[in-house]
Symmetry: C2
Subunit: 293 residues, 2 copies
């Protein structure tokens, strides 16, 4: 798949996700501030990798109209967004900038930011439960996949490890990253598979691809944190290192990180070998491995 | 239904709920602190009115083994628990005591309390999705009911109104209480109806009962806040009034509150008129209206 066709499809997915997200929390209500705070973070850009992954996995697994998977894709993006809002809170990472913009609590205050994050979770499950054109079985698989990806043994577990006095050798850092980042990226693939009613084998293969992609993504992130510059990366350089916590860059060095990203990316692409039409995901993995922001 | 039989059934439900909740988040994991923080609040007692309501509605609507509805009942209780943990945070009500015990963040710190609340939400949906002996349709009705009860137009909307500069005349206070309290109590009834596959008419009747019960409960709460004493009620008297916000006690007076609780309770009981076997719910409503803690 050449660059032009990849870009066209990515942009088609991304634009559909933005439109869908933009349709949410728009009514008027005495609690409109809550909607505003939710929309501020939901619509604050980002690459939309997770929902794009959901939509492409749905298409790849045979869902004729990939747009039917938009509620699933955006549900996971809402959960991802709540996690960013809460991660930035003073009692967590205490960050004032995210993607070059003031964080939610800087704009709306700590109380409203906490509540905006809290409300995004049930709204995600509502989107799944109310999705049109999806079978009950598909919806329940999606609920299960999202709940596991983001729950007490998933994303939140990773955040706990990140914020507590957890060891930071390579093994523990991989566990941390797996829970905090990879579970949700794998979940995004699983939601796409659920939407298309994919079988267990295909779901496992795409889940493996996504998991490896997630780890490569995080290592590339750590690397960019060291070699990138604040302007292109949108957050203060070394902001994750400030508290003396090891990152992959500390453990593996710049060259070691680059090597590991290549290795994981190759492995991710290899996981697609049994799946016809995986070119888009192959290019996606290569692109993420080479990204500089 | 006499007191003895009511008490026996209530206690049977309550004990089953405690056992079920006690079975959750027990494994060993590097993030065990998270489990501990979740369990601390999940198992901190309380009357378990919501899950009892779910179980009784399931039984009343024909679910032969009400124990099959335990995952639904406890899912809503987990969401209720997350809301208590977050409500107590310094950036919310900043309370140090709940039911006479130190609040979650006092024991586990603000970071872990926030994360414990965050993790309880997906775990609730996981319980529903993985419930044994429930049809896909029942599970999805439960997901939908829980998401609506606790989402951006439900419980969180109520919390936003409670914490922002919202008017406090009788109408606005009723809206606030409806979203913050009644939606979840109504949701509890709906989850029971979902478990039993009840039809729309019966679900609406039990939802109406629960909603009125919720409002009576809140008014009784405000009343007890004025006339109760700290020892029996478990929280500092007047703690909700400290910030100069009107409660029903301010608006209606002690006598007016008592009258309104009686009126709402009668209305709740009347909503059960078309339902055979509603004696337990009738007694429950009367008990809550007369409770002194």
């Amino acid at each position: 798949m050449d660059d032009k066709r990849f870009n066209e499809r990515y942009e088609q997915y991304r634009a559909a996700v933005e439109d869908y997200l933009d349709s949410l929390f728009t009514g008027s209500a005495p609690w409109k501030t809550l909607y505003d705070a939710m929309r501020y973070s939901v619509l604050s850009g980002g690459k939309r990798i997770r929902p794009v992954l959901t939509l492409e996995c749905a298409r790849l697994c045979g869902l004729e109209d990939w747009r039917l998977a938009l509620p699933f894709a955006c549900a996971l993006e809402l959960v991802h967004t709540y996690s960013l809002i809460h991660d930035d809170l003073p009692c967590m990472d205490d960050d004032e900038l995210r993607r070059g913009k003031p964080t939610n609590h800087v704009v709306y205050g700590e109380t409203m930011a906490t509540l905006a994050g809290d409300a995004l979770q049930p709204e995600a499950y509502r989107l799944i439960a109310e999705a049109e054109g999806m079978t009950d079985g598909a919806k329940l698989n999606a609920v299960r996949a999202l709940a596991r990806a983001s729950g007490a043994d998933g994303m939140v577990a990773g955040q706990v490890l990140d914020l507590t006095d957890y060891g930071r050798d390579r093994e523990t850092l991989t566990t941390l990253c797996d829970r905090k980042t990879c579970f949700m990226i794998k979940g995004a693939a699983e939601l796409g598979c659920a939407a298309a009613g994919a079988d267990a084998e295909r779901t496992a293969a795409l889940g493996k691809y996504a998991s490896l992609l997630g780890l490569a993504f995080q290592i590339r992130d750590d690397l960019l944190d060291v070699v990138g510059d604040e302007a292109t990366f949108g957050k203060p350089i070394g902001s994750d290192k400030g508290e003396g916590k090891n990152t992959f860059a500390d453990l593996l060095g710049v060259e070691g990180c680059a090597r590991e990203v290549r290795r994981l990316t190759d492995e991710a692409v290899a996981a697609l070998s049994g799946i016809e039409g995986g070119e888009f995901l192959t290019v996606l993995a290569r692109r993420l491995a080479e990204r500089d922001k």
